[in-house]
């Protein structure tokens, strides 16, 4: 029986093999990280001071940023969910804008203005809280909007005041969503290199950088990366757990949305001015200051001559990645679908574990297998540093790092293409590649474009992996910002920083435009695609 069973899609065919290979390519290097402890057991002994230092700094950051984002994000979410005031509609969305502000750009702004006490762990906590609170805000807001009015009214009926009802019923119900948002914010914090490095906070990413560049010790760098990965993975697991429960809680609470209370007088003014001041501080003021510095740097001839090269490099890297990474994600997602193979499904899920891993970790992870391969090729063909010294290593790292981001957007839109269309096309003589090109790609336009946009922006902002892997002369705008800021050349840093923020506003603007007033959560690309496609359906 077993031999005769040859269901199309049960075995390992070309698509399944391609998917598995792709997954191995992406996930393989990460598997190598723990092996470094075996390969060089004493690797960290030379840098024994780094680990306790990094553990303390990381713990302080996690506690500080966690507390800060919970307080700020939840308070703002409560304001826009439970209160009604003039201008609420656009305040609601303006509060998302800080997502477009990379931490190191805000740091540049703060350093340039010489804010007292900024070069400290406390300063870093403030910066992270200000630019990362939107994760908590968005998820908490979605949870509040999904809450049923009857639950809060039941609490009122039991004799609670409105604010007590929110505190005793509203917030506990939203707790899983809030925790999910905090986990996302903390993962960003752990992944950050620019902010902590510029502010002199010695975390793991900073330690990896110093071990890599000052001591050229790859084994030690890998072991530091492994330690950072374990912290990140712990957070990732917590986030998954929290999100699973959040879905549950939202399903349980259905019915009319909460009716907001109308604010008047000074309270209404405060409800507008408070968020406005916040967005002004985090987005508008830095943009204005960067614009002023940019103009000054151009007119004073302070602009680094490498600026044009950096801009070109950034653009090319981002554009190439925006093609490559969604294409890889499409191959993976379609491979799973077309082969129908369970092995391919597992492989694809494995390939997305790079999600949320710090850029420094990814850089350290890919360099070892590439270096090994390079030495083999060099011994054979004498090609020298074919891989590690070129943009190939960089693209490889971007794929590992951002594949999951593109995967979210691509898979969501692929799932919306009914399987019957595949079969209809097959019955009309189209082979599986034809089906992809003639049916799926046209139907997935929005999802693919979203994936491309998200990857483009992330690569533009990316600092740690680019810093560790860039070839000679391969500086990007992000590196230019970081480099100039470390040398306190704030005006030189302004123009590249301005460009990065402006590009970063694109997906945020897209998200706002697509979502309108709908209550929804920000879930990387997935929900943006969902919104875009709902919109298309609605138009049709």
């Amino acid at each position: 029986m077993g031999l005769r069973r040859r269901s199309p899609g049960a075995g390992l065919d070309g698509f399944a093999v391609a998917t598995v290979l792709c997954a191995l390519l992406v996930a393989g290097p990460l598997v190598g990280l723990p092996l470094s402890f075996v390969a060089a057991p004493g690797g960290l002994s030379e840098f024994s001071g780094f680990v306790p230092e990094a553990v303390v700094a990381t713990a302080l950051l996690v506690v500080g940023v966690g507390t800060g984002t919970v307080l700020l994000g939840t308070a703002l979410a409560m304001l826009v969910s439970f209160c009604e005031f003039a201008g609420r509609g656009w305040i609601e969305w303006a509060l998302v804008l800080p997502l477009a502000m990379p931490g190191y750009v805000f740091t540049l702004f703060a350093l340039g203005l010489d804010v007292p006490g900024i070069r400290s762990t406390g300063g870093a906590i403030c910066v992270f809280t200000l630019v990362l609170y939107p994760y908590v805000y968005l998820l908490a807001r979605a949870a509040f909007l999904a809450q049923s009015r009857t639950l809060l009214e039941a609490a009122r009926g039991l004799g609670m005041s409105r604010s007590r009802a929110i505190a005793r019923v509203g917030i506990p119900l939203a707790r899983p969503a809030i925790l999910g948002g905090v986990a996302l914010a903390l993962m960003e914090t752990l992944a950050d290199f620019g902010t902590v490095n510029l502010l002199g906070v010695r975390t793991f990413t900073d330690a990896i950088y110093r071990v890599w560049f000052n001591a050229f010790d790859r084994d030690a760098a890998m072991q530091l990366a492994m330690l950072l990965v374990s912290v990140t993975l712990t957070l990732l697991v917590l986030e998954r757990l929290a999100r699973g429960r959040a879905r549950h809680a939202q399903l349980a609470a259905r019915g009319d949305a909460v009716r907001p209370v109308r604010l008047r007088g000074p309270a209404a003014a405060l409800a507008v001015l408070g968020p406005l001041a916040l967005v002004g501080l985090v987005v508008l003021a830095p943009l204005a200051q960067l614009a002023v510095w940019s103009v000054q740097s151009v007119s004073d001839g302070l602009l680094a001559p490498e600026f044009a090269t950096a801009a070109r490099n950034s653009f090319l890297l981002a554009a190439m990645s925006a093609l490559l990474v969604p294409a890889g994600a499409l191959l993976l997602a379609y491979g799973v679908r077309a082969s129908g193979s369970r092995v391919a499904g597992v492989a694809a899920r494995t390939a997305t574990i790079g999600y949320g891993l710090p850029g420094s970790v990814v850089a350290v992870a890919v360099i070892v297998p590439l270096g090994w391969l390079e030495r083999r090729i060099d011994g054979f063909a004498g090609t020298g540093l074919l891989l590690t010294g070129t943009v190939i290593a960089l693209f490889y790292a971007y794929i590992v790092r951002f594949l999951a981001l593109a995967w979210g957007a691509v898979e969501t839109s692929l799932l919306r293409v009914p399987r019957q269309l595949d079969e209809a096309a097959r019955g009309l003589g189209a082979d599986r590649l034809d089906v992809l090109a003639r049916v799926h790609v046209p139907l997935m336009r929005t999802g693919l474009a979203t994936a491309a946009l998200l990857v483009f922006v992330e690569v533009m902002k990316e600092l740690p992996a680019t810093l560790l892997l860039r070839p000679l002369g391969g500086d990007t705008l992000a590196i230019a910002v970081w480099q100039a800021t470390t040398e306190s050349l704030f005006r030189t840093a302004a123009l590249p920083a301005l460009l990065i923020v402006l590009v970063g506003l694109l997906p945020v603007a897209l998200m706002i435009r697509l979502s309108g007033r709908r209550g929804a959560e920000l879930e990387a690309g997935g929900s943006a695609v969902a919104w875009a496609e709902d919109l298309e359906v609605a138009r049709a």
Binding site: P8, A424, G427, G429, A430
Partner: protein
Amino acid sequence: MSEVRLRGISKTFGTVRAVREVSLDIARGELMAVLGPSGCGKTTLLRLIAGFEAPDVGCVVVDEEMVAGPGRLVPPDKRRIGMVFQDYALFPHLSVEGNVAFGLATRPREERDALTRRTLELVGLQHKAGRPPHELSGGERQRVALARALAPEPALVLLDEPFSSLDASLRAGLRREVELILRDAEATALLVTHDQEEALSLADRLAVMRDGQIVQVGAPVDVYGRPATRWAAQFVGEVNVLSGVAHGSGVETELGVFDLGEPASGSVHVAVRPEQLELSAHHDGNAEVVAREFRGHDVLYRLRHEGGRTVLVQLPSLELHDVGAKVFVRPAPAAVTSLVD
């Protein structure tokens, strides 16, 4: 010569034997229907023929070429089999014309255009060639799906419950329309349905399927009039199964003597269709009207026979008998019944 031959096909999903040793021949230009209740494996059979599933054993031969069989599995795109899906599966990003031309991608341009135009004319949609599918009515969508399947001139067209997503009021008209289009195109077609009326009125021959097996194959009139089993008799229309004693070409039952399709003797069961009985009002009759279902052109009566059993009788709605009335029920003249298990 048969266009399509199925030989001993079986397919098991886990522990479910979806299709069991099915053999079936479809002649060129024939319109064959597979009729069975939902879950009987008819859709799996269709997917096995189309190539979306591979049979565990058995073979499928299309136009003298084995497309599935021991050591051979031709992928669906190489089988020359068109399929019309239950909900049409039209490509939403392509116009009506683009959908119809989809299967002609490898043809030269002029041929592709000519075939597309001709097929659109065949289904009467040339004036909607540029429309996107979502602007069409349900019936128009179905015709596009049919045109799309017919355009590459396939050896066989498969239709999976093609009328189930349409309003009942549209079905009869569209059934005729689809039949005419298929006849015009001289297509060989296999239609899968759970609707007896659809199968009986549309197909040249029909195969009744139950639990993955084909119970009976034959012309609609034979399958209806001479069901092979009690189950087939009950599935294809209303039926009274009576026990009786056969004497050669006749059978004696509690309702009277019926002619037998094939000679038999001894104790037997026969399937008697409701229209093979007639009744007249009679104060001393052998049955009483328990329920009456008025269907416009005819009436279905449910009677309680004096022997205790329930009897179904269908009559033209010329004369109505009220519930509670005493009637006399007897075999209609020329009623030929068949033996069942």
